[in-house]
């Protein structure tokens, strides 16, 4: 579990994170949303000790991120995939890049190779292992970055707007891959995004507003709170936006659908009721 207590951070005298209290349970899929400058990436950087708390604490599976002796244990446990797929690769070949973290951790060649094979297989890019990273598409590069993190066998994976520079198909593919890792292998995912349809697929949505937690609830509760969404400058996921428009037209809809499946069910129910 990651436990954050009273976390504060200032840049130039201004608080970018203020009194953050949060618990992230192992195995969960947590989305963090918020407008630009709300503190999402700063919060993420505290989770794997890239930043140390100025006030408060971040405890990862019992390890304090301020404890310099546990720095690499924490980073091994909490991996981070960043936004730009072109800025993360250290090596030029997919397999070499995937091996970078296990090599840094000092595993012998057999263990490193086994982790590389497992990571490439889990992410579904084994066929790309000998390809130069520069020849991959944006989505493939991001999958290679995920494999590079997954090769550390982390308990937690932070994806900091990892789909924001991708086309829709690649976006779906990357999200689907991460969901599979969460569902099948129990990887805890902390998914930072501006796309509400992605956040709607999480178990839990945390809304940040000016460095504070404005909401921490299920996607359904968050996206049915129009006052919260307005205040935090967030939009509804497309399916919910459609239902909200229908609601304005006087159609009786109790809860906004968040996924295409829920939306289809809602339309089917409305059609049946009309007949």
């Amino acid at each position: 579990m990651i436990q954050i207590t009273g976390l504060c951070r200032r840049y130039g005298g201004r608080y970018v994170l203020k009194n953050i209290d949060l618990k992230i349970k192992a195995g969960s899929f947590v989305a963090i949303v918020g407008a630009n400058g709300s503190g999402k990436s700063t919060l993420a950087a505290h989770l794997n000790a890239l930043l140390k708390p100025e006030e408060g604490s971040v405890i990862v599976d019992g390890m304090d991120t301020r404890d310099a002796d546990r720095l690499f244990d924490i980073r091994e446990r909490v991996g981070m995939v960043m936004q730009n797929p072109d800025h993360q690769a250290v090596a030029s070949i997919v397999e070499d890049d995937t091996a970078f973290a296990p090599e840094n951790l000092g595993f012998d060649e057999t263990e490193t190779q086994s982790r590389v094979d497992r990571a490439l297989d889990a992410v579904g890019i084994t066929h790309l292992r000998q390809r130069p990273i520069s020849t991959l598409s944006g989505g493939q590069k991001q999958l290679a970055a995920i494999a590079g993190i997954f090769a550390m066998c982390p308990q937690y994976m932070i994806c900091d707007e990892s789909t924001s520079m991708l086309d829709p198909t690649s976006r779906r593919r990357v999200l689907s891959c991460v969901k599979q890792l969460n569902k099948n292998l129990g990887l805890t995912v902390i998914w930072i995004t501006h796309y509400m349809d992605e956040a709607a697929q999480a178990d839990r949505v945390i809304v940040l507003d000016n460095g504070r937690i404005a909401a921490d609830d299920t996607p359904s509760q968050v996206f049915n709170n129009s006052e919260l969404l307005d205040r935090c400058a967030l939009e509804l996921p497309p399916c919910a936006a459609l239902a909200a428009e229908l609601k304005k037209e006087g159609i009786n809809i109790n809860a906004l659908p968040l996924t295409a499946e829920e939306c289809a069910n809602m339309i089917a129910t409305l059609t049946e009721a009309a007949q």
């Binding site: 980073r75 960043m82 250290v90 030029s92 070499d96 090599e103």
Partner: protein, 265 residues
């Protein structure tokens, strides 16, 4: 034009040179660079040219691709030709007012241009046939004795490797920025020194900003993947094979032959 830079680009292929140990290729590249600038007889130049062409052919690198790296340097090569042509003493072949071309000037211009072509093309074979991680490993292992006097050899090797790895990316960034400036009516070919400086600033400032952002992101990505833990054990610890022995034997023989030849002439 900048996208043609070959330095730092890896060309994946299955060739004997790709399989050779990175240390072998680094040592041979350094030796090759020394030979190119140390020996100046026509026979030596010819042999070094054949050596370079043979290296490209054995590495299964298309000649067009290997020579592409020269394109960004064409103005520099032209400049050295002109300087050598006009400012070298010797028997006059042509003269117009202060401008004078001599026989030695002609020879120097050809040799200097040829040396630059050989140097760039020959040494780019190293990065074209060696993945950056293998290059890092090779540099680190060659520098290992310096560890005893406290030199952080692994970090230096990683810095060299990352620098080489990012040269093509920076070239791509520069290309994009130049296109973006042109699309907004910016001219990159102003006349006069001040004009040229003024034209370059809109490219260099965003290029620096992009380089800083890129290196910041890479540093975070490396930190996130536990770089600096101090326990790094690179895979594929390549061992000297018959290929390496052959490469050393051929290069060594060439170096000794050229040295004797140079002394005799």
């Amino acid at each position: 034009m900048l996208k043609d830079i070959n330095v730092g680009r890896y060309y994946p292929a299955s060739s004997p040179l790709h399989r050779a140990d990175a240390r072998t290729k680094i040592i041979v590249s350094v030796l090759f660079a020394i030979m190119v600038f140390a020996f100046d007889t026509p026979a030596a130049m010819l042999l070094l040219g054949i050596f370079c062409i043979a290296g490209i052919a054995i590495a299964h690198i298309p000649f067009g691709y290997a020579l592409k790296g020269l394109k960004p340097l064409r103005w520099f090569i032209l400049f050295t030709i002109i300087v050598n042509l006009l400012f070298t003493d010797g028997a006059t072949l042509w003269q117009w007012q202060l401008l004078r071309i001599t026989d030695r000037g002609m020879l120097n211009a050809v040799i200097t241009a040829y040396r630059l072509v050989l140097f760039v093309t020959g040494t780019s074979v190293l990065t074209l046939t060696t993945p950056p991680i293998a290059l890092t490993d090779g540099i680190a292992r060659l520098m290992r004795p310096l560890r005893r006097i406290g030199v952080p050899t692994d970090d230096i090797a990683m810095m060299i490797s990352v620098t080489l790895r990012f040269i093509p990316d920076f070239a791509d960034d520069a290309e994009k920025i130049m296109k973006a400036q042109r699309a907004r009516g910016g001219s990159l070919s102003e006349k006069g020194l001040i004009g040229r400086i003024r034209a370059v600033i809109p490219v260099t400032v965003p290029l620096f900003a992009s380089a800083i952002r890129r290196s910041g992101d890479l540093a975070l990505a490396m930190d996130s993947r536990c770089y600096g833990k101090g326990t790094r054990r690179p895979r594929n610890k390549s061992v000297f094979s018959k290929i390496d022995a052959t490469v050393f034997a051929v290069t060594g023989a060439l170096a000794i032959f050229l040295l004797i030849f140079q002394i005799m002439h």
